[in-house]
Amino acid sequence: MDMNRREFLQLLAIASAGGFLLKNGESYAAGGATHLYDLPKFGNVSLLHITDTHAQLNPIFFREPEINLGVGAMSGKPPHLVGNALLKHFGVKPGTAEAYAYSSLNYVEAAQTFGKVGGFAHLATLVKQIRASRPGALLLDGGDTWQGTGQAMWANGQDMIDACLELGVDVMTMHWECTYGAERIKQAEEGALQGKMDVVAQNVKTTDFGDPVFKPYVIKEMNGVLVAIIGQAFPYSTIANPRYFVPEWSYGIQEENLQLVIDEARKKGAQVVVLLSHNGMDVDLKVASRVNGLDAILGGHTHDGIPAPIAVKNSGGTTLVTNAGSNGKFLGVLDFEVKAGKVADFRYKLLPVFSNLLAADKSMSALMQKHRAPYESKLSEKLATTDGLLYRRGNFNGSFDQLILDALMKEKDAPIAFSPGFRWGTSLLPGSAITMEDVLNQTAITYPYTTLTEMSGAQIKTILEDVCDNLFNPDPYYQQGGDMVRVGGLEYTCEPNAKMGGRIQDMRLDGKLLDAGKTYKVAGWAPVSEAARDKGGEPIWDLVARHLRAEKVVKVTTPNVPKLKGVAGNPGMV
């Protein structure tokens, strides 16, 4: 259901008057959503934060996970809360527009009621509105901005660079930007962004002499207060993504160097010091407990839409840790009251961007149209229709990933398929057309090669254990922040709390236990090795598109997920 802003406001008025009743009887009392954006001004330093927009310039649907398990000390704590457990923890009223933004509860009905989220034209209106009450506020972008759509991929991220300049982003850091190659990032930094937007990363060094590749931090001024923004790029760009894109750069968490940078910024007079981070929230929480002198970590990467900051104690005081979701759904607003040279108080709000509630900004819309025009016909090709909800996000699998796995197995004639556990990728409501744009929203990467590999049962087990440890290692510094590799054809049991090597159990193909010594054909995509790049392989979107054109109507089935062991009652699942 598409409705305009006036209709949406009417709906909210009705809702707040008496509760909006849906077919299933659930009440969607909109709980003051009309006043959502009237954020009272507070303090004298304001930081606006976007992250992981994944190039989604237009409003989209994005279903939050129904499963995001935490293990070890992270179990049962944000960001590892979903559904009602998350709403309850943060005091969000079920059935409201905000509950729709933060959870997957009654997703289809809620999506039909409250409509699409995000979109840069709507975000631009919101940013302008918030900035009007906070002149001089800084807009920070945590990265994963230039990648995620076919358009951004074909334009080498230029559409997003222009959109961010139009939006008025002051400082950015990065992750997927690196998959356009080192040269492209430096070209943008020294070209279009020069003098307008700072690219910061304290944890990127050259592999030879360890020289910094970017400015580790910048100091900006707001209302006479010096504010240091330190950058933290995704620490594992050379491991989670192909190393060949950035062969001469080295990353890592670089905790010791971070402390040196904080101390230096303080020495230079910064009264507010924040880390603009692409670590992922678990890593940020650990960093906050171990370094001192940070007032806040504005985080991303793990796509956690966390309504309130987590206050973490350390030897220097307290550090606030936030995470601002993904796909343009949210704008984080952090207000500091700085008194006598230090932060005395704060306010934080993670504002959902409801596209129906915010008018589209005219100049941003014009810019978007200009960038889309060359690709419009390619993107809008209708490939098929879906009879059910297509989504990706969740620890183990999503219906859109299942569709990709089914396409891979069929087109490659393989009994088993793997698809990467990316956390970007938008959702489609039942009855929607699936366009080329929708397929690219799940697949647009610069290493899209499909593969067909002969693997022994033992190798399959090793790979699954390896990826599973990247997700469920009890020490967040050893995690990489994606979700579990999606598995087609093969059934298995997963015990997240077990040790590496013991988490993947009872792997079966057609009911029969996998034989460690036997060889199986495994289809996949997004290989990180140079050998796979040189071999080529059909891009995944062409393979999926061919599959969809033949299918015409996609019958959405329950995605293949492992049986879970040892996590009953974990509030990280619905």
């Binding site: 790979i463 990489q480 990180v528």
Partner: protein, 160 residues
């Protein structure tokens, strides 16, 4: 400074992007040629277990060095063939710094003998086949101290 090294490490330095270290040391005359090298501790460098290596080095029960040794390694290796390791110690009179990788076929990776008055800090690269602990043992004032950190070696992919 005398520097002993094993073949694994030598190979890693040759094949990796890290030739810089040897070149720099050579340029400043810090590396002495074969004849001047300290006696090669064959037993230690061919040890298959930590216990054997420590005992061959005569450092069987080192004290806990977690507070006095700063061991800087990546949490996850970007390239297992060249994993950067820095060992620094605030202890007075550091005489020797040894580096081990507990899951490598030969666990001892390097041994640095420091002349009196040298700053207790070395940096090098080691090769790792799989996830393992990197162990640093520092000899200072005749006593041994030990600390360790896990470095994960992963197949990669699937992030983000």
């Amino acid at each position: 400074m005398n520097m002993e090294t094993n073949l694994e490490r030598r190979k890693a330095l040759k094949t990796g992007a890290s030739f810089g270290l040897l070149a720099v040391l050579g340029a400043f005359g810090l590396l002495k040629s074969g004849a001047a090298m300290a006696e090669w501790n064959k037993a230690a460098f061919s040890s298959k277990t930590m216990e054997d290596a420590l005992s061959a080095m005569g450092m069987s029960s080192p004290e806990d060095g977690a507070a006095s040794i700063q061991l800087t390694v990546p949490e996850i290796a970007e390239n297992g063939a060249v994993v950067p390791v820095t060992v620094a110690s605030t202890l007075p009179n550091v005489e020797q710094i040894s580096i081990f990788v507990d899951k490598n076929p030969n666990v001892m990776a390097a041994n640095f003998v420091l002349p009196a008055g040298t700053e207790g800090m070395v940096t090098t690269r080691v090769k790792m086949g799989k996830t393992a602990n990197i162990v640093a043992v520092v000899k200072a004032d005749g006593k041994y101290y030990r600390t360790a950190k896990e470095v994960k070696v992963t197949a990669g992919g699937c992030g983000g």
